[in-house]
Amino acid sequence: MMDVKRRYVIPGDIIVTGPLRAEQNVYQDGDRIIATSVGISEIYENAVRVIPLTGTYIPKTNDLVIGKVVGTSPLSWEFDINSPFIGFLPAQDVFGRDYSPTKDELRQRLNIGDLVAARVANFDRSRDPLLTVQDRDLGKIESGELVEISPSKVPRLIGKRGSMIQTIEMATKAMITIGQNGWIVISCEDPEGLLKAIEAVKMVDALAHTPNLTERVKSMLGVPEGEYNDTIND
């Protein structure tokens, strides 16, 4: 385990002074590194970052997101991806290269209100995020329960190397699709398990900043001590 120093910070807090690399949610002013968000600061391997506890989702290339169709244009779908920017899914991505607006009807494949798991293919400052569904496990979501959590808490829900989400999935036998934008689809054949999983996800959202969260989630789900226990200590 590398040496990681953590601290609670608010915007304007000087995290550290020295020749370190400024990463997410911090900025450099001379040799001071200052937080720009409310969150937990981390210093590791000469780099400094803040894990935010609040904020909207800013798309990143290759992120898996869950989007809701809000509109169509002749050549693309428009998605609400819980972000200040609207996601675009080109029609060719679904219909193939011979798509023709006169022949194919977009709404027959994906109608307004449908949920879709997609990947961000491209996004930069100058244009809205471009989505794609051309990958395994992407595309329209047919069933499941949508849970919204704060996008800043998604890394906590996944846990270190997926520890948290594996714990929940194994304990409830649910299938959980996590969008980086804070939208999560949970499906489970057993209604009890579904309710348990939803409760666990909401618990992570509410208690994301507290230590030993995996343990607490385990005890809430009734996982016996020692089972699937890895050495992760968070």
Binding site: Y8, I10, I34, L53, P84, S126
Partner: protein
């Protein structure tokens, strides 16, 4: 005319010259806004709500290079003793503008091109120095909304009452005092983002007045900090 200060330097509301009014801040009081805060600054009661970053409407206001900030300061009809017309007055338009300009240097809007951040400030009860209190609430609400900021903005007024420089001017002192100087600053960066002066001060008085106000800002900052810590970390300092 009421007596604004006794011989031994006690002000009309019982404070000493360098004493702030009671301040309490609550973070995240509104569910539907992206960020919010409620401040009680003496008898001032002010709510601030933030939306954004979100799509700009009307579209022509959008900037391709950076996000924009919009701000509305509004006083409720019941915020003052005589009913206030709810339509925006000249004074409210001015305060909206100065609040916007006081917050802008603290925000990193470059991260959100083509979007807008809307700040709504609603004065429920006014008691002098409401622009400073409004700024304090708005800054905390912006942090609650998770908008990247270089620093919080803390604001506090100072003034001249009965020939003495006092901290945090209240309504009576504002009406009948000799000068009122609201100051907002980024306390960690050490830069002033708002400075207005209503009244006449000598150069020496001006310097002490500014220093008094800066001292007040730093004390307000501690309260803002505590409010945010309480909301996000249940005050459990690590």
């Amino acid at each position: 005319m009421t007596q604004l200060m006794t011989e031994d330097g006690i002000r009309c509301d019982g404070r000493r010259v360098d004493e702030l009014r009671n301040i309490s801040i609550k973070v995240g009081v509104l569910k539907n806004a992206d960020g919010s805060a409620y401040i009680e600054f003496g008898k001032n009661k002010i709510l601030a709500g933030i939306f954004g970053p979100r799509d700009v409407h009307p579209k022509h206001m959008a900037n391709q290079d950076t996000g924009i900030l919009r701000c509305r300061y509004h006083m409720s009809p019941f915020s003052v003793t005589e009913r206030k017309n709810p339509a925006p007055s000249r004074r409210e338009i001015e305060i909206s503008k100065v609040i916007k300009e006081a917050l802008q240097p603290a925000l990193i809007l470059k991260d959100f091109p083509r979007t807008v951040i809307d700040v709504f400030v609603e004065v429920l009860q006014a008691d002098g120095g409401s622009r400073c209190a409004a700024l304090d609430a708005a800054a905390v609400a912006l942090a609650d909304a998770g908008i990247p900021m270089r620093d919080l903005v803390s604001a506090c007024a100072a003034g001249k009452v009965a020939d003495r420089i006092v901290l945090d001017v209240n309504n009576e002192e504002d009406q009948e005092g000799q000068a009122d100087m609201p100051v907002a600053m980024m306390p960690n960066v050490g830069k002033i983002t708002l400075m207005q002066l209503d009244g006449i001060l000598t150069p020496e008085e001006y310097k002490t007045c500014l220093q008094t106000a800066i001292g007040g800002c730093k004390r307000v900052y501690e309260i803002q900090r505590k409010a945010l810590m309480e909301k996000y970390f249940q005050n459990g300092e690590q």
